[in-house]
């Protein structure tokens, strides 16, 4: 049982906040992904657990034991760095076996375990090579091998795939996931790539500006975002945000907040949205219904860019009389070109409402969250 707990951890660098009030739990064997844009504090959060950065406030516990003040080497945590940090003057086998050497494991046992790990990672034939003779993917495997050989209780990875090309990234991603399942080691993984996070994590911890924005399964953060930041950060292309207000008190029709340039029907707007105060309506590109003739409740828009993508196409459109562009996914058989008019409808279940000032989600009093991720809508 290895359970990691951050208890109100804050890290300050002088007046700058690195991470603020981090209060999260990663359960035994869980694959948790810290996700957020550059500078959001995810690496700081990870380094606090590794012991490479000392938190200014708060405690970090592993299985209830406070390890906040412990030296990194006494935490039983292994880490894969973004730069991989292989020892350049050691060969592959020496790199993988280094943690065992430090532990004082004898040479023959070391060799056996190095071979076993190399076999798992499919780099058995590379053991006698120098690290500078390896490709990016192979170096990656060596770094992972070095981290897992000790069978640590917690496994940390700081953007380990950042330097790989797209194809290799997907391949390594799958292997990391498989390996984590097999080893059943509690894992914290840092990335700014939401696609990587969605596919790898059991639990996503979305961060921004040093604070945790939402913790949940990939489906939860995608379909039930806690705020406008999470809604916009997760999903590709990003969710569209429209600043709107009810057309009239109690109306299910919304119009552009400032100039009423478009009007759109949205069923089931939260009652918390007051009469005609502005709010932000968030709609993912694939949740617009696209019509080529006027229908009731749909807003007219002009197509400015079309990007065919096989089964579907990505349209960039502009509401009539409105300068802002939004992205819309349409089936491939909707035949439109630049300059054509289309009408966009929105299903209330697929629209999110956010506070204009705080970006906080405004929910319907009762909301169903058991929506599965529809095929093809994954980023």
């Amino acid at each position: 049982m290895v359970r990691v707990r951050y208890d109100d951890v804050t890290k300050r660098y002088g007046n700058e906040i690195g991470a603020k009030n981090i209060d999260i739990t990663v359960e035994d064997g869980e694959f948790a992904v810290l996700l957020g844009p550059s500078g959001c504090g995810k690496t700081t959060t990870l380094r606090c657990l590794a012991g490479l950065t000392d938190p200014t406030e708060g405690e970090i516990r592993i299985d209830g034991t406070d390890i906040t003040a412990r030296h990194p080497k006494n935490r039983d945590i292994a880490m894969v760095f973004q730069e991989l940090a292989l020892y350049p003057h050691m060969g592959v086998a020496a790199n993988i076996g280094y943690p065992l050497k430090v532990e004082g494991v004898d040479k023959s046992t070391r060799r056996e375990r190095v071979e076993a790990v190399a076999e798992t990672l499919d780099i058995g034939e590379l053991l006698d090579r120098e690290t500078d003779e390896l490709s990016g993917g192979q170096r990656q495997r060596v770094a992972i091998g070095r981290a897992i050989i000790r069978r640590p209780s917690v496994f940390l990875m700081d953007e380990p795939l950042a330097s790989l090309d797209a194809k290799l990234k997907v391949e390594m991603r799958n292997e990391i996931k498989k390996l984590q399942r097999e080893l059943d080691i509690t894992t914290l993984y840092v990335t700014h790539d939401q696609e990587e996070a969605m596919t790898l994590g059991d639990k996503l911890i979305v961060m921004n500006d040093g604070t945790v924005q939402q913790v949940g399964t990939p489906a939860e953060v995608y379909h039930d975002p806690a705020n406008q930041f999470v809604a916009g950060f997760i999903g590709s292309p990003s969710m569209n945000f429209l600043r709107v207000r009810r057309k009239a008190p109690g109306s299910q029709r919304v119009v552009a907040a400032d100039d009423a340039t478009f009007a759109l029907s949205v069923e089931g707007l939260p009652t918390a949205v007051d009469d005609t105060d502005p709010f932000v309506l968030g709609v993912r590109p694939q949740y617009f219904s696209v019509h080529q003739s006027p229908i009731d409740g749909a807003a007219k828009a002009e197509v400015t860019v079309t990007e065919p993508m096989g089964d579907e196409q990505l349209l960039t459109v502009r509401f009539d009389g409105d300068g802002r562009e939004i992205a819309v996914r349409a089936p491939f058989d909707v035949s439109v070109t630049r300059g054509d008019a289309i009408w966009l409808g929105v299903s209330g279940e697929r629209a999110y409402v956010f506070d204009v000032e705080t970006g906080a989600r405004i929910r319907q009093t009762e909301l169903s969250t058991d929506t599965a991720v529809p095929t093809g809508s994954r980023p």
Partner: protein, 300 residues
């Protein structure tokens, strides 16, 4: 390149350009090679020729390898070599030891590091002769050093006139002047050790000593070997400090090889012997450099 000449029609101007492009590496390196030839190959060749002659009042006379035999069988050369070796050993050990230690201190979080580094480099930019003159003042009877050590020694120390300590009195100015060079080079090496590799070792369970041995030292090994070679050769050629401070005395106790060479050439006018000694010194320097590089498995 040929397809160029076809496309441009093979005019005279184009042909010249193509020739330049083809020979560019030679054109670019030739000036450097010429300088090397003028300042290295020619003097060595000249010394080689001179070493085969004996010089006396009647002019020069070809003696084949006689100079070599005379020098290698005479005790004076070996005595000078031994004195040079002693000087080298003490100077290099202190310079490299201190230099590395200071580099480690400066590599940690030290306040005013830039200022300390800059001040530390001052001795390095002073000419060895000036350094020697400075130390001559320090070593003066009743001078600064004497006043410092008087409580311990009950009187002035004959720094440069006692044969048993004069050589060590020559070591000090060299250490004072050249330690910053070692620090400078080793510090550059230390700063090239990436933080993440140190951190990886930390995560792998390595303590401070282990990290020093397994991570830091391998990173700076080549630079340490380089600086060792530079200082071994430097101390082997030490001349200005000896010339200014002791002229090889007292009682030849500081007669290092370059001093002996100088005396042979400019006091006795025997350029043949002096050249022979110079060549032998060159051979020794080459052998030491090769030995260092081989033992440490460093390639430059």
């Amino acid at each position: 390149m040929s397809h160029y000449s076809e496309t441009v029609g093979g005019g005279r101007y184009e042909r010249v350009l193509l020739w330049v492009e083809d020979h560019l590496r030679w054109i670019l390196t030739l000036p450097a090679l010429a300088v090397l030839a003028a300042f290295f190959i020619y003097p060595v060749g000249r010394a080689l020729v001179l070493s085969l002659y004996q010089f006396d009042t009647g002019g020069r006379q070809f003696v084949a390898l006689e100079n070599y035999v005379a020098i290698l069988t005479a005790g004076a050369f070996w005595q000078s070599l031994w004195i040079t070796a002693k000087f080298m050993f003490f100077a290099v050990s202190l310079e490299v030891g201190l230099g590395i230690a200071i580099a480690f201190v400066l590599n940690s979080k030290v306040r005013f590091r830039g200022l300390i580094q800059t001040i530390g480099l001052v001795p390095l930019v002073i000419s060895p002769t000036v350094v020697a003159l400075l130390w001559q003042l320090l070593y003066q009877n009743g001078g600064v050093l004497d006043s410092l050590v008087t409580p311990l020694t009950n009187g002035p120390v004959p720094w440069l006139s006692d044969p048993s300590i004069a050589l060590y009195a020559l070591v000090l100015p060299d250490v004072w002047q050249m330690t910053p060079l070692v620090t400078l080079i080793v510090l550059a090496g230390l700063q090239s050790v990436p933080d993440h590799v140190q951190e990886a070792a930390m995560m792998d369970g390595a303590g401070r000593m282990r990290r020093l041995v397994d991570v830091t030292l391998p990173y700076i090994k080549e630079l340490v070997v380089l600086v060792l070679i530079l200082r071994v050769i430097g101390t082997m050629r030490v001349f200005a400090k000896v010339f200014v401070l002791t002229r090889g005395g007292p009682a030849k106790s500081t007669e290092v090889i370059s001093m002996a060479m100088y005396r042979e050439a400019f006091s006795y006018g025997n350029y043949g012997r002096a050249s022979t000694m110079a060549l032998l010194l060159l051979l020794i320097a080459l052998a030491i450099t090769y030995a260092f590089a081989t033992v440490s498995e460093v390639e430059f």
